[in-house]
């Protein structure tokens, strides 16, 4: 066994993206990442458990909304066209809340990336989390890197076959659970859970579970790093958020070079700390060599930091030969200067400002969100109708939205047209009841009596401003909607 130092073996591994002698079409080099131990690996375990728990548990959280509405905390209800999120109930026309959340998520990603590189890719991206989970299962069944390499080379045997079957079955089970959990966001989880087993669940639920099972197995179990390298646009985009001061997982070449195996009792003078043991390559889930510098494939998962620190401890050199560092930090350290990392810089301030702005806009929208809404659509064809007695009538469609969970009775009236009469089609009075969580469409007519109409036309007032006023009977709350009353052109 080749040794890089007295008590450190050299890993038999090459970076999958070596720069030289590339074929035009690359054969996939199968990567068997070795298990790392240390601070960052522990962080990744915690993130893995927390994110998976959020994903699997969320649909099962209950939230009481009264007798007529679902009691699921998070529910995307397509048939009823509602999105329930704890205390919030979003109607389709309020989809801008979701848009706002997505904009917010994008800016958070930008901010995170400009401060600490691809934190999203390394820790929280579902592709990373599920791949990590799949690799863990593989390790539990087939053993760590060395054993897996050996198993790959072995001819097929009963034991190898058994392990393979066990691994793929476990992967498929995880994939099935992933797809299964997804559909619970779109239906009542406990009911749907039973229905899925009794065969009564909707057709689309089975199809969704099937598709997600397939994609999870394929992308998390089989394709793994290929998704990040070949399919994902983010590695190509993130470069725009990174600058000289962004922290990234970096190999401190000023300290590590010249690299070389270290013999017992050899001095560390005149050489670098890197003993070229390739442990950083062996643990890399992307199969790359961080010592080649920042590269598109690197998801900044920091596992090479853990691997290297372990080796540095063994050979008695200071830790963090590979560490989170910035271009400027590396440059300063190389020339022996001290460096203060600047997290507050124009780029991060702009991102933070945008986050604050979008959050503020959304909070404002949320605070001013009304639970009873009256929308007025005035007739455009005809704009006005002359009645037999010379009066003028305008028609309007009123859409009254009741977002509350109780029936609301509303008195409708108009304000701004003295003596004009408001009537509702098919109704004797102007009081209407709107069912809970419902939308009612009403036809309203306003008639301006002949004298007023004549006076307005003579005065050349083609357009009169007025408002529809809706008064809630119970609470006395009033909402006004400004609109116009149109008359023929003056003579």
């Amino acid at each position: 066994m080749l040794k890089a130092a007295e008590n450190q073996e050299v890993a038999d591994v090459e970076a999958v993206n070596a720069k030289q002698a590339r074929p035009l079409y690359a054969e996939r080099v199968k990567i068997h990442p070795k298990l790392a131990h240390g601070f960052w690996r522990n962080i990744k375990w915690i993130v893995l458990v927390v994110t998976l728990a959020i994903y699997y548990v969320t649909p099962w959280i209950r939230w009481d909304r009264g007798p007529h509405l679902p009691d699921q905390a998070v529910l995307i209800d397509f048939p009823e066209r509602r999105f329930f999120f704890f205390f919030l109930e979003i109607w389709p026309q309020e989809f801008y809340f979701i848009t706002g959340l997505l904009v917010l998520a994008a800016f958070l990603l930008f901010l995170m990336t400009s401060i600490a590189g691809r934190v999203w890719c390394g820790y929280t991206c579902p592709q990373t989390v599920w791949t990590d989970l799949m690799v863990m299962i593989e390790r539990l069944i087939e053993g760590d890197r060395a054993k897996r390499l050996r198993l790959d080379k072995e001819p097929m045997s009963a034991s190898k076959f058994g392990k393979r079957v066990a691994k793929h079955s476990a992967w498929l089970l995880v994939a099935l659970l992933t797809g299964g959990a997804w559909v619970f966001y779109f239906g009542d989880a406990p009911t749907l859970f039973v229905e899925l087993f009794t065969g009564e669940a909707p057709y689309v639920a089975y199809v969704t579970v099937g598709i997600l099972t397939g994609t999870t197995y394929l992308l998390g179990g089989l394709a793994r790093e290929q998704v990040c390298t070949y399919m994902c646009p983010w590695p190509r985009i993130q470069g725009a958020m990174i600058d000289d001061e962004s922290l990234m997982v970096s190999y401190r070449d000023w300290r590590g070079e010249p690299r070389g195996h270290h013999r017992k009792d050899e001095s560390w003078e005149g050489r670098g700390d890197c003993i070229d043991c390739k442990q950083c390559v062996a643990v890399c889930p992307m199969g790359i060599d961080i010592r080649d510098g920042p590269q598109l494939e690197c998801i900044n998962c920091a596992l090479c930091i853990d691997a290297c620190n372990e080796v540095m401890d063994k050979v008695g050199r200071p830790r963090n030969l590979i560490a989170y560092d910035s271009f400027q930090g590396m440059e300063a350290a190389a020339s022996g200067k001290s460096h203060r990392y600047r997290f507050v810089r124009p780029r991060t301030l702009i991102y933070a400002g945008l986050i604050a702005l979008v959050s503020l806009m959304m909070l404002t929208a949320l605070a001013f969100r009304t639970e009873l809404e009256v929308n007025v659509l005035r007739d455009r064809n005809p704009l006005f109708v002359r009645l037999a007695d010379g009066g003028i009538r305008n028609g309007y469609t009123l859409r009254v939205l009741n977002k509350t969970h109780e029936m609301v009775t509303v008195d409708l009236s108009q304000e701004g047209l003295p003596n004009a009469e408001l009537t509702l089609l098919g109704d004797d009075d102007t009081t209407v009841s709107i069912m809970p969580d419902d939308l009612t469409s009403l036809r309203a007519f306003i008639v301006l009596p002949p004298e007023q109409a004549e006076a307005a036309i003579e005065a050349g007032n083609e357009v009169l401003d007025f408002s529809f006023v809706a008064t809630e009977q119970e609470s006395g709350r009033i909402s006004r909607n400004a609109t116009t009353f149109r008359l023929p052109e003056g003579r």
Partner: protein
């Protein structure tokens, strides 16, 4: 070209050997399986030739083993939609008009169907908003030649006005001038009298000369004082609504040459349910009685 391969100085990555005007391409190899997936999609596409319509032929096209056609799908969808609607259509067919209007669900369905049918059949004369034009009544207002109740509107729709149906609504506004019943001066005088009925500007003297002529010739249909008669389809001459215009010239023309618009009978053109829906829709426009 492959012999131009070299290692790029800046990146240390090999080039593919492709070069265009000095611009070279770095070799970022495509994974082999990706290429295979591409081949598979090509093979897959061949399946389409057999299963789906694809090749244009001289007078037809290859229809494919599945016989799929979007047009057929639309026809099936329409059939299904018709089926789904039949629950409501059947009820509208059976029930009386006032009952339909009192049932909110039926009313909504009738209005939706009526609006669509109005756009297809009526809008060309009455306008898309039923606002009417000169000679084509505005259906939004509260003046009705033949009555504005649900029943009257329904009857008008069924048999039309001066249509070729035996049951048609019919009246005859004589061409008093052309047929020599009244001479030019008399037509002028009657017109002034008609203007006076609605309080419009007129010549007092002419109007008073026209009054006895009006009593002799017009009251039979338009009624005492010109208030009109829905039974006969005679318009009210005292209100603010003028089908053919309310100026002296328009009225003179009406008296001189007569008037008589035509509305077709829809009983032979539209089904029973659609006509009922139309009646409900027109009645809802604002002038229904």
């Amino acid at each position: 070209m492959a012999e131009n391969k070299r290692t790029d100085d800046v990146t240390g990555i090999e080039t593919t050997g492709h070069e265009w005007d000095g611009i070279e391409e770095l070799n970022r190899p495509l994974p082999k399986w990706w290429v295979y997936v591409f081949y598979v999609t090509i093979i897959w596409s061949v399946g389409y030739y057999f299963f789906y319509p694809s090749w244009p032929l001289i007078s037809d096209y290859s229809r494919g083993l599945l016989g799929y056609s979007q047009r057929m799908e639309v026809a099936e969808d329409l059939e299904a939609a018709q089926q789904a609607k039949s629950v409501w259509r059947d009820q509208i067919g059976e029930k009386e008009l006032p009952v339909i209007v009192d049932d909110p669900e039926l009313l909504r369905f009738a209005l939706a169907g009526g609006q669509a049918a109005f756009g297809d059949n009526c809008a060309s004369c009455h306008g898309s908003g039923a606002q009417g034009f000169v000679g084509y009544p505005n259906l939004n207002d509260d003046a009705w030649l033949w009555g504005g109740t649900l029943e009257s509107i329904h009857t008008t729709l069924l048999y039309g006005i001066r249509s070729n149906h035996p049951e048609t609504r019919f009246n005859d506004m004589l061409a008093f001038g052309q047929q020599g019943v009244l001479d030019r001066q008399q037509v002028e005088d009657v017109s002034h009298h008609v203007l006076s009925l609605s309080g419009s500007e007129h010549d007092e003297e002419a109007a008073s000369r026209g009054e006895p002529l009006f009593a002799d010739n017009c009251v039979a249909c338009h009624g005492e004082g010109g208030v009109g008669n829905n039974e006969l389809g005679a318009p009210n001459l005292t209100d603010a609504i003028w089908l053919y215009g309310g100026d002296l010239a328009d009225i003179r023309e009406s008296v001189w040459a007569g008037r008589g618009g035509v509305m077709p009978a829809w009983i032979d053109r539209l089904d029973d349910v659609t006509i009922k829906q139309l009646a409900v829709y027109v009645h809802s426009l604002g002038g229904g009685e």
